[in-house]
Each structure stands twice: as structure tokens, then as C-alpha cells.
Amino acid sequence: MIQIQAANLDYKELNEKLRETEDDCTIENCCGQRFIATGMAGRTVTIHGVPGNALGAYLNGASIVVKANAQDAVGDTMNDGRILIYGNAGDAVGYAMRGGEIYIRGNAGYRAGIHMKEYKEKVPVIVIGGVAGSFLGEYQAGGVIIVLGLEAEGKRIVGNFPCTGMHGGKMFLRGNCEQIQFPSQVTARAATEEDKKELKEHLSAYCRLFDLDLEAILASPFTVLTPDSKNPYKQMYVAN
């Protein structure tokens, strides 16, 4: 395990140091450095302190553990691997993510899971332990987004306009979400036993890693959101 002292390094120097080795690394005193572990594969980077924007962009199989909060654009266009955040994450978590998992213990900002995709067995997953901001799963084209709303203290589990433009994938929100408005092109329904089985698969690693009671979480009702059509704009055009 290599230790990197980040206190006096800018992001370029820090990332160069990370690239110098192929071993697992711990970054100490991280303070807003951007682009950490961009495109990285096959190892674990543990971060103490707060990493800057675009943490794990294009991540290609590495594991990142953040012991504090993270900022915007975590896992931008991530392809594979896992990002674990003990605190909150900023806006646009998992933008256009195409594989791997992002597990957030706390809350996520706006536009989490925007334009996530999937192809065959490659299905990305985002789990948000707290609440999510507005535009959750905007343009979602695939993958799974789960929001648990733990310790939400009366806060709404998701902000305004969730699922806008959603045309693929699946979203699970804990609770029955009666007060939340969804766009007309998605179907919201209560989770069935089948759905719960699927949820259990996605949540068991999450609960193990964050030391949470899986059964207790699964005991509450969940709302499932799926798009009605893979071709939301089909009827919109006429050839000219």
C-alpha cells in the first residue's frame, strides 16, 4: 500500500504520482484535487479528505473509497469498477455511466445518474443512501438507480423532475412516493416480490460495506419506475 500526501500537490502532480505505481494507494489530506484516478483499472485508491470534481472519470475497473464527502461529477462516464463514498456527493454523479457501481452513504446533488446506459450484462448501479436532488435519472437510458432516503428526517427522497426523458433502465425509490410527480412517459408502481429480489441483489454489497441492516431496509415499501417506451420521440417527426 503506497501512501500519497496530497496536501501540497495540485491535481496534475497528484495524478502523476498515482499513475507512477500499479499498487493500491491511500491519499492523505486530499483537498479538492480534481480528476483523481481518471480511467484507472485494477486497484484500490482510498482517499482521506475531500476529492475534487470528476473523481474517477472514465473509471475502468479500479475501486475508489472516499472516507468523506465528494464533489461534482463523480464517476463521469465510468466504465467499470466501484466508487464508495462515506459522505455526500455533489451534482451529476455517474453522468453517462456505463458499468460498475457507485455507492453513496449520504445524499447526492442534482442530476444523479443522468444518461446512464446499459448493454447486455453490463448494467451500472448507483445507490444513494440519503436523498437525491432534482433531475434524478434524467435521460436515463439503462442501469439501476436506487435511493434509500435513510435518516432523511422528513425530507423528500428526491427533488423535482425525476426521470425526465427517461427511456431505459430502472429506478427504485424507498417509500410509496405519493407526493412525488413523475413525468407521463414513466410508470410508477409499488415493488413486487420479484423487484425486491432484484433490490436485494443490488443492496447486499452496499449494506455489507456500509454496515447497514439489509432486511430492515427491504422491509419498507419501494416504488419502481420504468419508462413506457424506448423511443420517446418516435411520433414527433415527419419526413420532409
Binding site: T38, Y58, I114, H115, H167, N231, Y233, V238
Partner: protein, 501 residues
């Protein structure tokens, strides 16, 4: 029929004396215009479906066919023209947005055709390119502001990453999905042979074409289709697509019907699912945000590749380009409003954006005025139609040109402007295997090489005539240009004098 009927635009004229009922036209027309009437033993046609792609005309062995514009027109009216009225009918029939393809066909001024090139006479002799060396090579990327030397006076030659082109022409972005596998292969092979670059567009890179990586520019658009580490690594440069000349301000949308087989795998979305690229990048709302994407791509490629930012030519393009030049991007690509597309809403294609000539002149001037022209190279596209357009663009300040419509024309496109249908009879804008195989990549790449080589000769001749022997010496040399029939304002923006001055 009835109120919904719109009289066909074209007539199929078959010379019965020549037609031998071989049924080639029937097999060639994916629009199913031609059919054989067994009872009467003759070929017939349903011209309501004809798009005038000229495939049957070109393939008919006895030259029995021609397609003509129908003269069955509505009553003439300069205000309510035939097209305008028919567009109203189509929308009243469907309630839908009009969708078109290829570049803006409206009669807007083409400034290239109002600019004339200089030549040397008597003094400053012209150069014969057949006899004397003529340098068409260019390098795209950030250039240093000053010459640097080490303590011993030795020149420090380390430059930011550059793209080397044998001539200032590249194939611009066309995605796999909007065009076919064979079209991509033709472009990739031609770019490799020519020592230039082709551009994947936003649909990812098919695994068969990674071998052409060093002549490939890969694109990252708002939908991020097919973007991953190996894709970025395979490339010579990465282009961030912010906009496209044919449809500034709106995103891309490849209908699910075209997301089949390899296209779906390359884009990494399920078959049949729409591929939607949102209008903005939802993580970019400022130059600072753009800078973040630029540098995340630089980090991902370890600062070894130039990053291009592509934008559409719009009203404030000079200020926008100035921002991009400060974002850390190495190259700015500007796409004019006549640029082509596989599909765009008609109203946007025909009414949004500005001509590339004016955009280029304004941007080059602005970057010079601000002393940041060396921060970036400028690549322009959006209807570069010939070697003389290239020469004029370079003299106006471009470092290189992007061509796409000209390239697909070389591949056989007949500009029928119905790419959006997915039934391109020339095997270009289609994913139907029976149509794709009509485009042979051996022939396609050869025709592209022919075209670009021919332009290279012409560029050399035009430069030689001016007494200029390198693109370097032509770039931004607006004294080599004169306007014809332009207003003072237009001349002012173009930064050129009128002919005779």
C-alpha cells in the same frame, strides 16, 4: 388520398424503347418505386416513394431511366412557395416536427463564391508546383508563444501534442449508426493512406477500426456513447462535441430503428432504444465547466493527445471561441450553418446559425486581437466544397478544414437529402445489410484518396500562383483575397478588400 394527398415531387421517366425489363431498378430501389407488371410484361413505377437518389438511373444497363422534377405544381406564388405549402400540408397531416437531412439547401449567400484569390504577375513571381517543393503539411495544436532555449542556448523543442496532416483537410464527424460500417471503413482507410484524420462522430468506435487509431479523432458528445478508456486511448485526438452546424442548440437523436447489431454494441445501448444526446452537456454551463471536461480527457489520455472542442457557428461565435481558447482546448472546430447531418429538424437546419466564412473571419480576428491565437488551432467545416474553398478558408485564418458532405459525395452520395429514412440506396446512411454492401470499402477509400489528392494538387497550384510555397505562409494572409459584390459590412467582417481595391 383526398385532402392528405401531396403530389409527388419527382417523376420517373422510363424510355420504353430502351427498357428491357431486367428489373435491376426494382432490386436497386430500397424505396420500392419500381415493380414489374407480369400481366402486361412491363416495368412500372410508384413515384410517390421516389426521393431522386439516382440509384436506378445510374444502374440501369440501357440508360432507360431518368428522374425529373414534377411540373404538377400549385399555382405560383412568390410568398407561398410550393415547398412552404407542402410543409404545411405535412404538418397538418401529422402534427409532427419536420425532419430533414444533409445541409441547408436554401439560397443563402455562399461567401466563398464572392471571394476571389490573388495571383502574382511580374513582381513576386509565381511558383510552379510541379517543379518546386510546395509544403501543404500542417500541425494542429497549441503553439508556444516564444522560442525557448536552455542554459546553453540549445533550442527547446518540446511542444504540446500536435496532429500532423499532410494537407489541411480532414474528414469531419459522422457517427457509426448515422453512416454505415463500410462508409466508416472507407473513411478510416483513406485517412490512413492520406496522412490525415477521420472522425468517429459520437457513436463510438467499432472494434474493427481500432487499427486505424493513429488517424482517428474520437468524439465525446453529451450522450457519451461508446466513450471509455480504450476508445480514448486508441485515438490521435479527442473531440468534445458541443454543437453541430446543421443543428446548433439541439442535441442528437438516432432513432431506435437504427440501433441494431454492432451499432448498439458500439454505442452500448440496447437494440431498438433511441440514442439521445441531450442538447447541452448537462455538466457544462460555463467555460470553467468546459475546462473540467477538457482536463478530465487530458488526464485520461495523460496529456498526450490534443483536445478539440467543436461548436456550431452562431451569432456570438467570436466570444465563444475566445472562451474555448482559454479552456485548455488545443483545437477549436467551428461548423457553419450549411454543414450536413443525418437528420435535423428542418426549421433548425434552415434557420439557425451563421455562415462559416463570417464566423471564421470573426473568430480569427478576435483571437488575434486578444493575443491568444497561438493558444489554439482553428478547423472549419460546414460546406467546404472544393480546393479553392480550402485555400480561401486558410487565407481567412483557418489552420485546416473539415469535410464531410464532399467526402460522402465521393463515396457515391447523390444528395437526395433523405438520410433520415435509413434507406440510403448508396450504402452510406443506412444500416440495412443489403444496402451497406453496395458500398465497397476498397473502392470507397480509393475514391476518397482520389478526391483529396486532386484537391492537394489544386491547392498547390493556387498557392503557387500567389507565389506562396507553404500553408504556413498562406494562413491568415487576407491580402490574398478580394470580395466581389459584397457590402462594406460584409467586407469589414471578412477583413478583406473589394476587388479592384
Amino acid at each position: 388520398m383526398g385532402v392528405e394527398f401531396i403530389y409527388p415531387e419527382f417523376e420517373v421517366i422510363r424510355n420504353d424503347n430502351r427498357c428491357i425489363a431486367c428489373r435491376v431498378c426494382e432490386r436497386q430501389c430500397a424505396n420500392e418505386v419500381h415493380f414489374f407488371n407480369a400481366e402486361r410484361g412491363v416495368m412500372m413505377s410508384d413515384e410517390t416513394k421516389c426521393v431522386n437518389c439516382q440509384r436506378c438511373v445510374s444502374l440501369c444497363p440501357t440508360r432507360a431511366l431518368k428522374i425529373v422534377k414534377s411540373d404538377c405544381k400549385l399555382r405560383e406564388n412568390a410568398n407561398w412557395q410550393d415547398d412552404t405549402i407542402k410543409e404545411i400540408y405535412k404538418q397538418a397531416n401529422s402534427g409532427a416536427v419536420l425532419l430533414s437531412s444533409m445541409g441547408n439547401p436554401k439560397p443563402f449567400p455562399v461567401y466563398w463564391d464572392k471571394i476571389l484569390i490573388n495571383a502574382s504577375q511580374v513582381t513576386n513571381p509565381s511558383i510552379d508546383p510541379l517543379r518546386e517543393p510546395m509544403e501543404t503539411r500542417v500541425f494542429l495544436g497549441k503553439k508556444p508563444d516564444k522560442v525557448k532555449r536552455d542554459a546553453n542556448g540549445k533550442l527547446l523543442c518540446e511542444l504540446p501534442p500536435q496532429l500532423e496532416l499532410s494537407l489541411p483537410v480532414m474528414f469531419s464527424a459522422m457517427s457509426y449508426g448515422s453512416i454505415s460500417y463500410n462508409a466508416h471503413e472507407s473513411l478510416a482507410r483513406a485517412a490512413t493512406e492520406l496522412g490525415i484524420y477521420y472522425n468517429t462522430g459520437e457513436g463510438g468506435l467499432h472494434e474493427d477500426f481500432y487499427c486505424y487509431g493513429k488517424n482517428t479523432i474520437v468524439q465525446v458528445a453529451s450522450g457519451r456513447f461508446g466513450v471509455h478508456k480504450e476508445y480514448l486511448e486508441a485515438s490521435a485526438a479527442v473531440e468534445i462535441k458541443m454543437g453541430q452546424g446543421a443543428k446548433p442548440g439541439i442535441g442528437g437523436h438516432l432513432p431506435g430503428a437504427k440501433i441494431v447489431g454492432d451499432v448498439s454494441r458500439t454505442r452500448m445501448i440496447p437494440e431498438g432504444s433511441d440514442a439521445i444526446s441531450p442538447a447541452p452537456h448537462h455538466d457544462i454551463y460555463s467555460i470553467e465547466d468546459l475546462r473540467q471536461l477538457v482536463f478530465s480527457l487530458k488526464e485520461a489520455t495523460e496529456y498526450k493527445k490534443p483536445i478539440i472542442v467543436k461548436v456550431a457557428a452562431v451569432h456570438n461565435i467570436a466570444a465563444i471561441a475566445s472562451g474555448i481558447a482559454r479552456s485548455g482546448a488545443d483545437i477549436i472546430a467551428i461548423d457553419g450553418f450549411r454543414g450536413g447531418t443525418g437528420a435535423a429538424p428542418t426549421r433548425i437546419r434552415d434557420n439557425v446559425g451563421i455562415p462559416i466564412e463570417l464566423a471564421l473571419a470573426a473568430v480569427d480576428q478576435r483571437l488575434r486581437d486578444e493575443g491568444i491565437r497561438n493558444n489554439v488551432s482553428l478547423v472549419v467545416g460546414g460546406s467546404i466544397r472544393s480546393a479553392s474553398d480550402v485555400v480561401k478558408a486558410i487565407a481567412l485564418g483557418a489552420d485546416a478544414c473539415y469535410i464531410a458532405t464532399a467526402a460522402v459525395l465521393a463515396l457515391g452520395c447523390h444528395l437526395c437529402r433523405t438520410c433520415q429514412s435509413g434507406k440510403c440506396n448508396w450504402g452510406i446512411a443506412t444500416q440495412r445489410p443489403d444496402l451497406v454492401k453496395r458500398l465497397n470499402p476498397d473502392i470507397g477509400s480509393e475514391r476518397l484518396v482520389n478526391l483529396v489528392k486532386a484537391w492537394q494538387h489544386e491547392i498547390k497550384e493556387l498557392m503557387g500562383g500567389m507565389g506562396i510555397n507553404s500553408i504556413e505562409a498562406l494562413r491568415g494572409n487576407r491580402l490574398m483575397l478580394r470580395g466581389i459584390g459584397l457590402t462594406e459590412k460584409e467586407l469589414e467582417i471578412l477583413g478583406i478588400l473589394h476587388a479592384g481595391e
